[in-house]
């Protein structure tokens, strides 16, 4: 068996062959996110009413969930993924921050410089979700502080999306494509570029597994449906479906179609998802729904295991030597 693996390693396609394709996929994800975020911001500028903004909010959030599977590079230039989607929020920082901003008569919201300093808990898609979908906040008028806050948050998301897209279309793609070349200070070898993508794919699958699924499932005795991501806007299952679809695109690109088991597992999960009726996962207290969501969790684990094996072999790299040591 060891000999067979060795021979496969020797004769498989050159390692990191899929990085160029992965960069193209990344660029298209971020280009779309920048476009959708811009639409959200310009629509919010036209009218801040929740009913008007909900469809465009969903489209922009969809685009972010897709782009968010790439967890390295320009995302750090805008303050990390939490600065766009602050979740999980166990201590309720988002609601606290919004309330504080509104109580202070909108002064901070009006002042551009002051708003820039506002905690990331009061920005991004989850702050916007509270304002658009939570009846505690969503009954505002067009002249209210809430309305201004909606506009500012949408604009902030669009600016971050724009900045990331700029970096991906130019400088950061170049770093990946010239990995290992003499003047490249970010990726010192082609393996490092491949490893960044591999770590990202596995990290994104782990996020779905542990945070989007296992956390709300809790235990049989104590399920935690309110821990589902974006339950107020009925997005829990949607975010899982969209991120798996994005991972499907990424695995195809990165694996040069040489990750058949991973793609098979992905397609099993993607075709299973529509059979779960409760899009917001709020009825996981019901044993039959719970059983289905647990099945999905197992499917995601299967994808992760297949991806770890197939992509590592195909790319000739592994995920973190130290990161996985646990000491």
């Amino acid at each position: 068996m060891r000999l067979i693996l060795f021979l496969i390693c020797m004769f498989s396609a050159p390692a990191y062959a899929g990085v160029k394709e992965a960069v193209d996929v990344t660029k298209s994800f971020h280009e779309n996110f920048a476009i959708q975020a811009q639409l959200l911001a310009s629509d919010a500028e036209k009218s801040c009413g929740p009913d008007f903004l909900k469809p465009v909010y969903h489209k922009a959030f969809d685009a972010w969930v897709t782009a968010s599977i790439i967890q390295f590079g320009p995302i750090d230039d805008v303050g990390g993924p939490l600065s766009i989607a602050f979740w999980p929020d166990k201590k309720g920082f988002t609601a606290k921050t919004i309330k504080r901003l509104l109580q202070e008569n909108g002064e901070i919201i009006t002042d551009k410089n002051q708003f820039a300093e506002v905690s990331i808990a009061g920005k991004g898609f989850f702050a916007l979700e509270r304002l658009l979908f939570d009846p505690e906040f969503s009954m505002y008028s067009t002249t209210s502080a809430e309305c201004l806050l909606v506009k500012n948050i949408a604009k902030d998301i669009a600016q971050k999306a724009d900045r990331m897209n700029d970096l991906w279309q130019t400088m950061f793609s170049d770093f990946l494509l010239t990995a290992g070349e003499e003047d490249n200070t970010v990726f010192l070898s082609k393996e490092e570029a491949a490893q960044a993508y591999l770590t990202s794919v596995i990290g994104a699958l782990e996020f779905i597994e542990t945070t989007r699924l296992a956390r709300p499932l809790g235990t049989l005795e104590r399920p935690r449906p309110k821990r589902a991501e974006g339950w107020r806007s009925e997005r829990p299952l949607r975010n899982i479906r969209i991120s798996l679809a994005a991972l499907d695109d990424m695995v195809s690109a990165l694996g040069d179609n040489e990750a058949p088991a991973t793609q098979e597992e992905l397609s099993i999960a993607l075709s299973f998802i529509p059979s779960i009726q409760d899009k917001s996962l709020q009825s996981i207290t019901d044993i039959s729904v719970r059983f289905k969501v647990e099945s999905l969790l197992q499917m995601v684990i299967n994808i992760k295991e297949a991806a770890t094996e197939e992509l590592s072999l195909h790319l000739g790299v592994t995920t973190g030597f130290n990161a996985l040591d646990g000491d």
Partner: protein, 357 residues
Amino acid sequence: MTTRRAFLSGLLAASTTPNLTWADAGSPAYLAAAKLPNGSFALFGLSATGKDIFQIPLPGRGHAAAVHPERPEAVAFGRRPGRFALVIDCTTGLFTQRLDVPNERHFYGHGAFIHNGEILCTTENNIKTGEGVIGLWARSENYRRIGEFSSGGIGPHELKTMPDDKTVAIANGGIKTHPDTGREKLNLNTMRPNLSFLDDAGIIQSKIELTPELHQNSIRHLDVSMGGRVAFGMQWQGDPSETPDLVGLIEPDDKVRTFNSGLSQQSGLQNYIGSVALSYDGNTIGVTAPKGNRAHFYSRNTGFIHTIKRNDICGIATKNDSFITTDGTGGVFNVNDRNLTILAHTSRAWDNHLVKI
């Protein structure tokens, strides 16, 4: 023909041979273990500029090494739960001694010398009770085990010698494990880590505990400045969606402070600090987060300074008035101002710790 006089002087020469210094091993500035591209493992001596000084094959994956303060001698520990440690003569690359831990004990991966290098202290587990143990080994008696005392807690991991050369600072991580269940954590709900200072008689000089809500914050790594400040790094075992402080500093008067880098940066650490280094003056702390692929730097006076990104970064040690890092992708870097500048890059994977000589 050997005369009696010549034989005696030969004996004398033999007995003075051990008085070699680190200069005889090429004056390495750091030690680090690594996995080589062919899958084997080795201990490396590195210069201050990250160049290889020596390479000694190891029988398995290393974790950290205890460095003798004067002699070119290192004690290499494997990953926990290890049953033995190897004393390495860094001038010849030979294993001169094998430390076998007594029955009912296993090593936890770190060691440190006290009493000018005469006594080696090792972190260990009492397998029967799960209590932490510090094993004592006498170097002048071929590393005979001369005793042990309680570490002051459960799951001791890294320990460091204090400037008085007779006190050790011990990170009692609080996590109970048993060799039968490998690295499985057996007491996450009741764990209570601490940082204990023990003198050479095993008497606890002081014990630092965190507030009760942080009882799942495992204190695992530490470093000591020349003036006796102690920086420590933690690994959060509680709800992963929380972002507790992971870095702390203890003043010589036992005053403790922990640091936070703000919601966004803090979450990037993935709740896991892999290694800690404290500047000579005790004013700057460098920590690595291999799961978060980044290093953070904190000032004693002003708190969080900045982040540096690097895949699988883990080894960190002080260098002049800054730091040097190693990572699982083969890089050795200087931390300059707010950037990394490369010193060396190979295809070996540097393991957890970079140990300063």
